[in-house]
Symmetry: C2
Subunit: 151 residues, 2 copies
DNA sequence: CAGTATCCCCAGTGATACTG
DNA sequence: CAGTATCACTGGGGATACTG
């Protein structure tokens, strides 16, 4: 691990990309693409299907464990617990335990989590917005696969 | 489970929101959360770690198979192929085969893929921007776990 | 170079049972 | 209600070999 960690994060701009346009201030090239690096780890976390749904659902409200479980269709108790713990550890979700006889635990986004929510909401919005196009693309692809001649 | 999860996995006809609180404005903007629905499927696809990286890396350039493989650190040939095929099928990536002796295949984002790229780029940007906060949150969480009395 | 085909493993996940 | 603990299993994904 001592080997790759000191590798330069910036990619050499020497290699020219034809068709890329003049904007050389390529921000996408600058992120650390090494496996196991911080960004990759976080991406894996926030891009997790359950994390995504939990954050999207929490929005700006507090929800109880069971409420989340009911709202995130298909999630198991275990995965909800695991997901929530990870999000809490990452400082994205705040966990509030109420010392009452029937245990009550509320989950809410932290300010940091709220900023992520905006991005995730955009992703969900994109998905809703383009689902028809994707469905069409899939149909076209499958049709093309059946007709190798490409008609 | 034979339990009362009577929500059908089929496409939701109409805008019925089972169990959705009518008095709550936040739930009103909720998307279709049913497992197996179109949005969930697409989300799982685009939120995939490899898809995410491929789209982020592709940006507006064409890249060859090997280039992508080299840039996406840690991906196996198999997963790159699989990922690229899925993205192509979803209409997010265009695959161009050049009929030359050493086979050459270029991958590029479609216009649809480009719109997704913007969202994904925002997600990556968020990750870069907040990685320190997350690292700090993790450290704090772990420290808290070690000191149970630190209520 | 750019795949496809195969085998195979294990980590993530669900199911179940128990507890505070 | 909100977990924790345990077990069992599946399929995601890596490694390898082969092909056009």
């Amino acid at each position: 691990m001592e080997e790759g960690t000191s590798k330069s994060l910036t990619h050499p701009e020497g290699t020219d990309r034809p068709g890329c346009g003049p904007d050389d201030e390529y921000r996408a090239r600058q992120w650390d693409v090494r496996e196991g690096c911080e960004v990759r780890q976080i991406l894996d976390r926030v891009a997790d299907k359950w994390s995504l749904l939990a954050i999207a659902l929490l929005d700006c409200r507090e929800l109880r464990f069971t409420e989340l479980r009911r709202e995130i269709d298909g999630i198991s108790q275990r995965m909800l617990t695991v997901t929530l713990r990870q999000l809490e550890r990452d400082g994205l979700v705040r966990r509030t335990v109420h010392a009452v006889v029937p245990p009550r635990v509320d989950y809410a986004l932290t300010p940091l989590g709220a900023t992520l929510h905006e991005t995730i909401h955009a992703l969900v919005g994109w998905t809703e917005e383009h689902q028809d196009e994707i469905a069409a693309a899939r149909a076209a692809y499958d049709a093309r696969a059946r007709c190798p001649d490409g008609a």
